[in-house]
Symmetry: C2
Subunit: 407 residues, 2 copies
């Protein structure tokens, strides 16, 4: 596993809990001390799995290759930054490793994500007999598997898909992002996009929003965003007439976001800046990306867990033609408590809902259930064993048949 942030911590805990499947495990990241800390916490919690750690710069293919050739992993779980997907995939190809990630590649200098860069690796993974599993977190990931499950068991034809993502948690900070603030702010400040009648429709950032009612939570203002799983789902389920993604934001969050943009701190271009060297040996002219510097002063998402109350609720609201030939609706979702996630892994619910599916995807691969050479989005695999594990591994799901979807 590459990465040692909140999601990686959760995945590592869950891997340690499933030592019958995961017999050998290494955590590598830019700072080895962070990996060692995760291992220490896991062992303190009573799990016995022997876990190796290593230092690696995931931007550097040669370093990755050296590590992979040394450790010889069967599967590389990429929980590093989206910028690093391609270097890690390159190293996997070079060293004969299978691959799994939770977020698609985006270039560092452009706030823009799409699968094309990673799909371009299809033929090479296929020829090498290697499996690459893309987008195996919660959204993308579980939401795509929910859709595959609905298509397999409940619908002849999925026509309308709305993925709804609510975080009704309260971390008691004036402002904080729930995952890497840089990635979070890039995602939210870009234009909205949804699929309708065979083409993409663009909106201004956060232009479309409406109140949606979430189970055990109630109504929350939800904003239409572009989200990566829509891109592969409309290809894999061509009967879909309209696919959208919605996420809740509070007024306080949006106010902070607006100001961050107004004051220039969401900029992703480099600003030249002169600053004293930390070792006191003089001054240096450095290049600073404002959004990356902002990340250094905002609360670390990994530190939000302790007083985080409330829960997340993420699911798929689907309308289409059922197996009986009639129109049906279907809502499948999970609610996750921030406090329960923290008590189990020391991380809040947003990290938990991403890290657990990453582990389950790795389990699917290791058990030989999701093992098809090539580059695949998760909905291309059998959803049933994954759905079974969600109930066992802390992310139980619930179904509402023929309810009011509000959409």
């Amino acid at each position: 596993m590459i990465g040692a942030g909140g999601v990686a911590t959760v995945a590592a805990f869950k891997i340690a809990q499933n030592a019958d499947v995961f017999t050998e495990f290494m955590i590598a990241s830019r700072r080895k001390a962070k990996c060692d800390k995760i291992v220490e916490d896991i062992h303190k919690a009573g799990y016995k799995l022997d876990i190796k750690t290593a230092q690696v710069d995931a931007d550097d293919v040669e370093q990755l290759k050296a590590l992979f050739n040394d450790y010889k992993p069967e599967l590389v779980i990429n929980l590093a930054l989206p910028y690093q997907d391609l270097t890690i995939m390159d190293a996997c190809l070079a060293c004969g490793c299978n691959y799994l990630d939770t977020a698609n590649y985006e270039p560092k200098d452009e706030a823009h994500f799409e699968y094309s860069w990673q799909w371009a690796y299809r033929e090479r993974f296929e020829k090498a007999g290697l499996t690459a599993i893309l987008g195996c977190g919660f959204d993308p990931g579980v939401t795509s598997i929910y859709t595959a499950y609905a298509a397999k068991h409940h619908f002849k034809e999925i026509q309308y898909l709305d993925i709804v993502d609510c975080n009704a948690g309260d971390h008691h900070k004036a402002f904080a992002t729930n995952f890497n603030p840089e990635i979070n702010i890039r995602e939210i400040t870009q234009k909205g996009l949804y699929w309708e009648d065979g083409k993409w429709v663009e909106t201004e950032p956060l232009e479309i929003h409406k109140d949606l009612t979430y189970p055990e939570i109630g109504p929350k203002d939800s904003y239409l965003l572009h989200h990566e799983e829509i891109e592969s789902l409309v290809i894999n389920y061509p009967t879909i007439k309209r696919a959208r993604f919605w996420m809740t934001f509070g007024q306080q969050y949006l106010k902070h976001l607006e100001v961050i943009q107004n004051i220039g701190m969401s900029r992703i271009d480099e600003v030249e800046y002169e600053a004293p060297l930390a070792d006191g040996s003089g001054v240096a002219r450095v290049k600073i990306v404002p959004l990356q510097f902002l990340k250094a002063v905002l609360p670390n998402p990994q530190d939000l867990g302790e007083n985080y109350e409330g829960q997340t609720s993420i699911g798929c609201r689907i309308r289409g033609i059922g197996n009986d030939g009639k129109e049906h609706t279907y809502y499948v979702y999970n609610n996750c408590s921030h406090r329960a996630a923290y008590e189990e892994t020391g991380m809040q619910g947003v990290s938990y809902t991403t890290g657990v599916p990453a582990m389950i995807g790795a389990m699917m691969f290791c058990k030989g259930l999701w093992n098809t050479p090539g580059v695949h989005n998760v909905e291309e695999f059998d959803p049933d064993p994954f759905m079974e594990q969600l109930n066992k591994q802390g992310l139980p799901w619930h179904e509402i048949h023929d309810g009011d979807l509000e959409l």
Copy 2:
């Protein structure tokens, strides 16, 4: 003159306009190119004064001394940063130069201003036969001179003093500060302070505010802040029972300020940060003060002039016992148009209202009118010739006798 920002640009224009008084002139700053640009603009505008320029780091007493010993100025006009007041005063003492500034010293690592540091130089300036004129901008500066003028001509006893500072301009930016954003934000985010019945009363930041009506502008929500001229005025006019300072802020401005604090970008402590070197030769660990970095991404106050509409209105509202033994009120103020300031000097009204008084103070010194060895706040000098020049140099003042002060 040390400094090459917006205020310095205005002061330089006004000095060039008064070449009968200012026969020799040098502009020095950390970046000589900025000084050369000011000279170029002044000459383009048709003024003939020969102006020298030089490079100097105002944090470095030795560099300052070398420059002063070389150029041998009679008066050093300090329009650099408040952090640099003491190094410049030290160099003036060492080289036998007189001194003038517009803002009192504050240490870099503490958002706190007071005169004690500069007043501690009194005896040394006195012994050296040198004059130091402190706080000769608009506020402090003109507001202190307005008070001195009121005391000289209209009041036997000043009892209540309210300095009111309104900027009703619109620069058409989502957020920008009107002068150095670092200094501006430090000033506003500290606790409020006012003088009443012989002691200082502290308030939470921006806790006290009320609508005040400004001439030609109308009512504007005005916030009680600590401002440095109050500190010397209550000493020089001991009959004052209460002295306060008020400044207008719009809701949009305050919203941005709140968020800037919430996200940690108003912090003035150092954050260690790793960044690539600008010359591409590697990475460096540097120390960055978030508020200073914010300054690098916010609009430069010097660039606000072009589309700046509306005007500033700054004055003193005074109540006390008049020369006839009866209670009187007196409101003396100036309104300054951002557009007119820009057309004359290329800078907006906030720079203009500070730079013009700095020039007039220097003129008072050069004419031998304000020439008393020691360290002095401006109200200690004769206000009459200064008030006369305000009318001639672009900052005419108006009086309202026995009107409603609202305070």
